[in-house]
Structures are given as C-alpha cells and as structure tokens.
Symmetry: C2
C-alpha cells in the first residue's frame, strides 16, 4: 500500500486572458482559437465559483464524474481519459481517496489493478458540486437562446477531435 499524502487545496483559478482596455488585439482576433480560449477560461471561472470550498479542480471533478459514471474504473484508464500519465492518475486518485471521496477496491479479475468507486461521501460531494457547477454553466449559457445553445454545442463537438 502506498503512502496517501493529502495534497493541499488549490487557492485560485489559473491564468486568464484579459481584454485590457487600450490594447490592440487585432492580431489575436484572427484566430478562432483565441475566442475559444477566452470562452473556455470564462467557463473555468464558472467552475471555480461553483466548486468553491470543495477543493475540486477541473481534473478532479472530471475524475469524480468518470468514476461515478463508470464504477470500477481503473487508474490507467482514468489517466487516459484525462490525458495524463499513470503516475499523475495515481496522485489524483490518492488525493480523492485521502479526502474520502473515492475508494480503491482490489479488482476481482486482475490482481495488479484497482477498481475505483465513489464512496457515499463522494456521491454527496459530487452531486452538490455538480448541481452548483451545472447552475453556473447554465447561467452563462442563458445569454444564448435555446436554439443558439444547441448550435454552439453542436459546432463545438464538430471541431473537437
């Protein structure tokens, strides 16, 4: 059994591109990627507002959602889904387990692997954060009509790989 070190809570959201008044952004506005990035940063800010106090970050929240939707998920697969190395998936799982949100259970069919499961507390925390983050997500999207929201989502899916 490994050492379960509790990693501290993140204090503030990551860097954010800002529109500073008086500066020329003409060169940036040629790229759709910049609009995408700025919208995505706004969405991250929503997340941090909704997840405030939970200690969750986007990868941790995503991990909880994935474990919740795929009980018995293995760390390697979790890492793959998150696009991080196995070692990182382990540290992430350590953090979630130390906080009592996720449980490692020995895999019945593979002695090398763990199956990951939400604990009762993990389910409650996930539900609460999901509700609050979801509310923030919908609040921002209410700037658009229902039709525009569907359009945006469909366009985004088409340009994502």
């Amino acid at each position: 059994m490994p050492t379960r070190t509790l990693r501290p809570v993140r204090k503030s959201p990551p860097a954010a591109l800002q529109r500073v008044p008086g500066l020329s952004y003409a060169a940036l506005d040629e790229f759709v990627g910049f609009s995408l990035r700025r919208a995505q940063i706004a969405s991250f800010a929503d997340f941090y507002r909704g997840a405030a106090g939970s200690g969750l970050t986007p990868p941790r929240f995503t991990a909880l959602l994935l474990v919740g939707g795929n009980p018995g998920l293995r760390q390697t697969l979790l890492g793959e889904a998150l696009g991080i190395a196995r070692s990182g998936a382990m540290l992430l799982t350590d953090w979630l387990e130390a906080r009592g949100l996720v449980e490692r259970r020995a895999s019945p069919d593979d002695g090398r692997a763990w199956g990951l499961f939400l604990t009762g507390s993990g389910k409650r925390v996930l539900d609460a954060v999901k509700r609050r983050v979801g509310a923030e997500d919908r609040r921002r999207m209410q700037r658009l009509s229902l039709r525009e929201r569907r359009q945006l989502k469909s366009l985004l899916e088409r340009i994502a790989d």
Copy 2:
C-alpha cells in the same frame, strides 16, 4: 540588469481530455463547459503543431502578438493582458529576450519601466509561426461552413466575459 536565464523549450502539449472508447461520458456531456474544453484542447494541439520547433507556447505566442500589435508595451500591462503576475511577465519577457525575439528599451517617460519591442528576428519568427498556426486554425475550422464559422465565433464572444 537581471540575469537572463534561458529557459528550455517545452517538449509536449499539456494534458488533453480524451474520449476513451467504452467509457460513459453521460455525466460530462451535461456541461457545455466540457464541449468547450475539448474543442479548446484540440485548438491547443493545432497550436503546438503549427508552432513546432519555435519553442513558443500559447502564452509566449500571445505575448509576441501583443508586443507586435502594441509596440512599447510594458511588462505590467503584458502580465495583465495574459492574466499572470508581474513576476511571471518578467520571466516570460526574459525568455523572449534571451531568444532575441523581443527587446527591452528604457521608457522615455518613465525611468522605472521598459518598453517592449519585437526585434527583426522576432518579427520574422512571429510571422512564420502566425502563418503556420493560422493555417492549422483555419484547417480545423474548415469542417464548418463559412456561415457556421462566423456563428461559432460570435457565440463564443457572447459567452466570454
């Protein structure tokens, strides 16, 4: 004058959410934020493809674009535009200066401040990378019709703060 330490070139793009076949993503798909994030990650991948070999990262590229479009830009303002602390803006400027892409000139009206300017080499590198990254950006967007591209950009601007 500070020490101008040359920071190494980034090897690989940052983490990327992946659709792993067989996993349930139902819980994630409730959030527009996830579509946004996945599309944005794809756009980052485009950037790293286009900027390959240049050592540029998204913040460094953005910094070059901003200095190019705002000659004499001060570090503090650059940091603000990028959403990073002054100290970070300095390290970033150090990197760009050590690579000969950007020049610090004493500000004529304020003895404390630098004005940032692209060097000849900086202009050439920026032009080349801009062209290649722009091509990648447009290549992805060609999955959409012209009308859809305009729509996407407009929708993104409306949900960004």
